[in-house]
């Protein structure tokens, strides 16, 4: 497959990811991952030090779904949503059935009363399965620039 096609497939996946979260279609969010997969939200400081514990971790599509079900059914938090702004998408390497992709993101948090803040910034470190169409994340590591999280992290980043 030519590189432009691969790049378009990657761009579509990354855009779809932000759209499903920002439009509160969280039940469709796990479908963007392979099963098993690796989804990890971790601070830059931990990641750079080789530490493995972040603030969210899933190793399967089931774990991603459980995160959504927990938010919908069990957890108590003030209603809010995000607006993701995803920056330059860098294709770092391609293999037979996978692509290594880095991109920057900003996540703005809009509370139910309209209070709007820059909630998180960071880097998506992706390993994308390109063997089937549409593409799917086999790994998405969300590296947060700051290790501080305001109040709580409910909706995935």
């Amino acid at each position: 497959m030519d590189e432009v096609t691969v790049r378009l497939g990657i761009q579509e996946l990354i855009g779809d990811y932000a759209e499903r979260i920002d439009e509160d279609r969280l039940e469709e969010w796990p479908d963007l991952f392979t099963d098993p997969c690796r989804y990890l939200v971790i601070s830059r400081a931990n990641f750079a030090a080789g530490l493995r514990q972040g603030v969210m971790y899933a190793a399967s599509r089931g774990m991603l779904l459980d995160r959504v079900f927990s938010l919908r059914r069990a957890n108590i938090y003030e209603p809010h949503r995000y607006r993701h702004i995803v920056g330059p998408i860098r294709l770092k390497a391609t293999e037979d059935a996978a692509a290594v992709v880095h991109s920057n993101f900003l996540a703005v948090r809009i509370m139910h009363d309209g209070a709007t803040t820059l909630f998180a910034s960071g880097l998506y470190l992706d390993r994308i399965n390109t063997s089937t169409i549409p593409y799917r994340f086999s790994e998405r590591i969300v590296v947060l620039d700051s290790e501080k999280i305001d109040t709580l992290l409910a909706i995935p980043l």
Binding site: V41, Q53, M56, G62, A74, I76, K148, D150, L153
Partner: protein, 414 residues
């Protein structure tokens, strides 16, 4: 955010001599906040500083805070652990800016004064002037100047410090029950798995009380009941030390019965309120005593947590009357194999800023703080389970919160 500036009435009025009615102004009064810094955090209390394993070699240091006060902890050439304020004796500049590191001596960037690893002043740039002009006066003696020191103590691989000579020895301070509870969890050499900080829009005490509140857990945190996980938990209890400020609560679980129950439920395919992937709660009884939850506090700001196989130290750091930071220090142990580490990481979803059974604690204090905004007359009630702060064999109780206020009132002189 507080309506009470430093010039407001100097004392918060308690409705009685008891500890089961707590004035709301304690959470909003800026003068009260100042007194807490002096009498609690700088008073006769022990505060968590760092892990001993962070100071493996002489010269390893950690810069942290006790209350709002910047502090350095360092292992010296003789292997002893020293702690002192992170403030140059000359002009008060911060000596260490990085969170942790390694050095041979402390050197102030401002005027180059240097200190050895015990905090003793060793060097003063241009002490004798330049070309015999200037310099320190003849009576100035370096050996009379050092960094203001904290006492330190180590227990279970955790380093604590106190500003006060009046604080009893650490284990006496904790009391026998809380000492036992701490050593139960910290029975191996800890390994750092990661850390994170939650910034909370509330007075620090609202979080610390929440941790001592064994009444709210099954009401505010619905994850375990929604997914029908904690059905087989067994009664536990609360231990509170004599001064009241330190406690631990625990609950047991029949791990084997939980596993059997899950397998039976899976056969019924009753899926709507079942976890899709149960590895987030798949636990082993690593202490061999069936205790699945143990929450321990050390007054005024440390928490040691065992929730199933997640182990964490949490430190509550006041950052103004209506803001605090909660640092999570996630631990494993040197005996863990890869399966155990992976188990801890998966269960890590239960706790922390995004934790299924902890995220609510990040916002509920903020809700209280908002409700108290220009609305802080009167007192809240903490009389569940009585009016005293005694150890109890049940957990539907606010006894540990009353213990906090017992110790608090004693140290504040209120």
């Amino acid at each position: 955010m507080s309506q009470s500036g430093p010039t407001a009435e100097p004392r918060v009025t308690w409705p009685s001599n008891g500890i089961s009615e707590v004035p709301f102004r304690l959470y909003t009064d800026a003068a009260q906040y100042q007194r807490e810094q002096e009498r609690l955090f700088k008073g006769p209390t022990w505060n968590y500083l760092c892990l001993a394993v962070e100071l493996a070699k002489p010269g390893d240091y950690v810069a942290t805070t006790v209350g709002e006060t910047a502090v350095i902890v360092v292992r010296d050439a003789a292997g002893a652990i020293n702690a002192f304020v992170n403030r140059c004796a000359h002009r008060g500049n911060l000596l260490c800016l990085e969170r942790a590191g390694h050095l041979k001596e402390f050197s102030c960037i401002y005027h180059g004064w240097t200190y050895d690893l015990t905090g003793q002043l060793m060097g003063v740039a241009f002490e004798h002037g330049v070309k015999r002009q200037g310099g320190m006066p003849p009576e100035f003696r370096k050996d009379e100047h050092r960094l203001l020191r904290l006492r330190t103590a180590e227990l279970g691989g955790l380093i604590f410090g106190t500003f006060s000579d009046a604080a009893p020895e650490l284990e006496t301070y904790l009391g026998p029950d809380v000492t036992r509870g701490l050593l139960r969890v910290m029975n191996r050499t800890p390994v750092l798995l990661g850390r994170s900080t939650q910034v909370m829009p509330n007075n620090w005490k609202l979080y610390f009380e929440n941790v001592k509140d064994t009444y709210h857990a099954s009401i505010l945190h619905l994850f375990l009941t929604t997914f029908r996980i904690n059905r087989l938990s067994m009664p536990g209890g609360i231990y509170i030390n004599r001064d009241g400020g330190n406690h631990y609560s625990y609950a047991k679980l029949d791990y084997a019965a939980e596993d059997a129950d899950y397998k039976a439920a899976a056969l019924r395919a009753d899926s709507e309120f079942q976890l899709q992937d149960r590895s987030v709660v798949e636990s082993v009884d690593e202490y061999g005593d069936s205790v699945s939850v143990q929450i321990l506090t050390v007054f005024p700001g440390m928490v040691l947590q065992q929730v199933r196989n997640t182990i964490a130290v949490r430190v509550v750091r006041p950052r103004g009357v209506d803001k605090c930071e909660l640092e999570w220090i996630h631990l494993g142990f040197d005996t863990d194999d890869e399966a155990m580490t992976e188990r801890r990481l998966r269960q890590g979803n239960l706790i922390g800023a995004a934790g299924y059974i902890s995220m609510e604690d990040g916002c509920v204090g903020g809700f209280v703080q908002r409700a108290l905004q220009y609305n802080d007359e009167g007192a809240g009630l903490v009389m569940m389970g009585g009016h005293e702060a005694e150890s109890q064999t049940f957990r539907a109780s606010e006894a540990a919160i009353r213990g906090f206020w017992k110790h608090y009132r004693a140290l504040l002189g209120e």
